[in-house]
Amino acid sequence: MLNNYRPDLNSFLIWLVAILVAVLPIMMLWEIARDGLPHLTLSFLLDEPSNAGRSGGIFPMLVSTFWILGVCLLAVIPIGLGCALYLSECIQAENPIARWVGLSLDVLSGVPSIVFGLFGYAIFALHLGLGFSIVSGGLSLACMVLPLFIRTTEHALRSSPPAYRQAAEALNLSFLGFVARILIPSASRGIAVALIISIGRALAETAVLIFTAGYVTRMPSSLSDSGRALSVHIYDLSMNVSGGQNNAAATALVLVIFIILINIFAHRMSRRWQT
C-alpha cells in the first residue's frame, strides 16, 4: 500500500476539496449578485411592492422580517440560555432529566420545519387565537430554532475552563454572580455563534412562516397583524410569480448582506465582552 502512496496526488485532492468548499459560497454570492445587484437600489429597500412583487420594493417585508425575528429572539434567548445553563451547570449529564431533555432536543432539531409550521399554526394561530400574525410566526420560529440554540450554547458553556468553576466554588461565589460575570462572558464567543446560527436559520426559514405569519405583502400595522418575511417573498417571487426572478435575487442579496452584518456585529460584541 505504502508503495502506492503518491503525496502529490493526495495533496492535489485535498487542495481541490478545500478550494471547492471555499468557492461554493463565492459562486452563490456571484449568482445572486449578478441578477440582484442591478435592482438593489435605495428605493427598492424603501418602497412597497407592486405588480405582485415584480416591481416596487421590499420595505414591508423588511419590517415584517425584523418584527418576526425580534419576537423569535425574545423567546429564544431567555429560554434557550436558561435551558443551556440548566443542562451545563445545574444537572449531572447522567441524570434522567438531563438525558430526557437532551434526547428531546436532538429529536426536535431533526424535525422538518414544515412540521413546526403546522404545530405553530395549530397551537399559536388556532388554539391560542393569535391567527396569522407576526407573533405566531415569531413564536413558531422560536420553537424550531430553540433546540439548535440550546445545544450550541450548552457546548459553549461546557467548553468554559473548569478552573473557573473550581475557583468560584472555593471562593463561594453566588451562582448568578458566577454565571453573569465569569461564565457567560468567557463563553460569549460560542454563545454569539449559537445566536448567529439561530438567526441564520430563522431568516432562511420559509415553511414555518407561510403557515403562521402569513404572506400578505402589506405593511404590518402591529404584532398581531400578518406579514411576509423576506424568505417567503423570495420563495413566492421565484416559484409563483413569473418575471419575479430579478427582484427575488435582489431580495436574496439583501438577506445575505443582513446575515453578514449580523456576523460582523456578533463577532465584535463577543470580542468586546471578553476583554
Binding site: 478552573a163 473557573y164 473550581q166 475557583a167 472555593a170 471562593l171 463561594n172 461565589l173 465569569i182
Partner: protein, 275 residues
C-alpha cells in the same frame, strides 16, 4: 433595609480588620469514598495553628482529596461521600448544617494551576469581595492594594490594574490567586501543589510567600516535592496507599520526619528510595 446595612457594616469590619486568629484543624478518622470505593480510609491528622503543614506522598494516595474535604469542595464531586470528623477551630465542618459560605471564607484554597478569572487584575479581587457583601469601593481599593502588596505583586502591576489577569505570567497569576484568597480574610489556606505548574524562579517566590503567611494563617499544603516540603513546612504528614486506600502513615515536625522517622516507608520515601 437597616438589617442589610448592619450586615454590610459587619462584613466590612470582617474584611478590614487584620486577621490575627489562625486556627487549628483536627482531622479524625476521615474516610472518603467515590462511588462507594474508599480512596482515603481512617485518616487522623492535627494541623497546628499558624504553621505550615505539608502533605507529601506519591500520586494517587488521596492527598488532594483529603485537602478538598477541609473546605467541602468534595460536595461538588458527584458520588463522593466523606465521613468522620474535621474540626476547623471548634466546628465540625462535615456537619450537614455547616454554612459553606462561612466555611469557604474561613478556609481559602489555592489550586495547582493558577486560575484567575478572565477579568482585570483589580476585578479579580474586587469581584469576590463584592460577592461576599462588601460595598464600600474605597475599602475595596485598600484591600486590593494590601493583598497585592502582601503577595509582592503590587509594584509589578500597580500601573496596569485594568489589564486582563490572563496576560500575567504563570507565577504572577498564582500570586494573584493567593492575593484573591487573602482578600477574603481566611484563617486557613489550603494549597494544592501550588508550585508544580510554575518555573523554578516563580516557585521560589511563591514558596517564600507561603512561608511568610505564618503565623497569621494556618497553611496546609499538598506537595510532591520533598525538598520543597523540607524548605517551607513546619510539619510534614506522609500519605501512602495501604490496602487500596490512602492513609497517613506518619506525621510530625519536619526535622523529625526527615531525620528520625520511625516508619520504614517514611524512611525510604524521604531518602528517595520509594515513591
Amino acid at each position: 433595609m437597616f438589617k442589610y446595612m448592619r450586615q454590610s457594616n459587619e462584613i466590612e469590619q470582617i474584611f478590614t480588620t487584620i486577621n490575627t486568629s489562625a486556627i487549628s484543624i483536627s482531622i479524625k478518622n476521615v474516610d472518603v469514598r467515590y462511588n462507594n470505593v474508599a480512596v482515603i480510609e481512617g485518616v487522623n491528622l492535627d494541623v497546628p495553628a499558624g504553621q505550615v503543614t505539608a502533605l507529601v506522598g506519591p500520586s494517587g494516595c488521596g492527598k488532594s482529596s483529603l485537602l478538598t474535604c477541609i473546605n467541602r469542595m468534595t460536595d461538588t464531586v458527584a458520588h463522593c461521600q466523606v465521613s468522620g470528623e474535621i474540626l476547623v477551630g471548634s466546628d465540625n465542618i462535615l456537619h450537614t448544617k455547616t454554612d459553606l459560605g462561612i466555611l469557604r471564607r474561613k478556609v481559602g484554597m489555592v489550586f495547582q494551576q493558577p486560575n484567575p478569572f478572565p477579568l482585570s487584575i483589580f476585578e479579580n479581587i474586587r469581584f469576590p469581595l463584592k460577592e461576599h457583601g462588601m460595598r464600600d469601593e474605597k475599602s475595596i481599593s485598600e484591600i486590593v492594594e494590601t493583598v497585592l502588596t502582601q503577595v509582592g505583586l503590587w509594584d509589578e502591576v500597580k500601573d496596569r490594574l485594568k489589564t486582563n489577569a490572563l496576560q500575567l505570567s504563570g507565577g504572577q497569576q498564582q500570586r494573584l490567586c493567593i492575593a484573591r484568597c487573602l482578600a477574603l480574610k481566611p484563617e486557613v489556606i489550603l494549597f494544592d501543589e501550588p508550585c508544580s505548574a510554575l518555573d523554578p524562579v516563580s516557585s521560589t517566590t511563591v514558596e517564600k510567600l507561603i512561608k511568610g503567611l505564618t503565623p497569621d494563617y494556618t497553611v496546609l499544603m499538598v506537595t510532591h516535592n520533598l525538598a520543597q516540603a523540607r524548605r517551607i513546612a513546619d510539619h510534614v504528614a506522609v500519605c501512602w496507599m495501604q490496602s487500596g486506600a490512602g492513609c497517613i502513615i506518619e506525621s510530625g515536625d519536619t526535622e523529625s520526619i526527615f531525620e528520625r522517622s520511625i516508619h520504614p516507608i517514611t524512611q525510604a520515601f524521604c531518602k528517595g528510595d520509594q515513591g
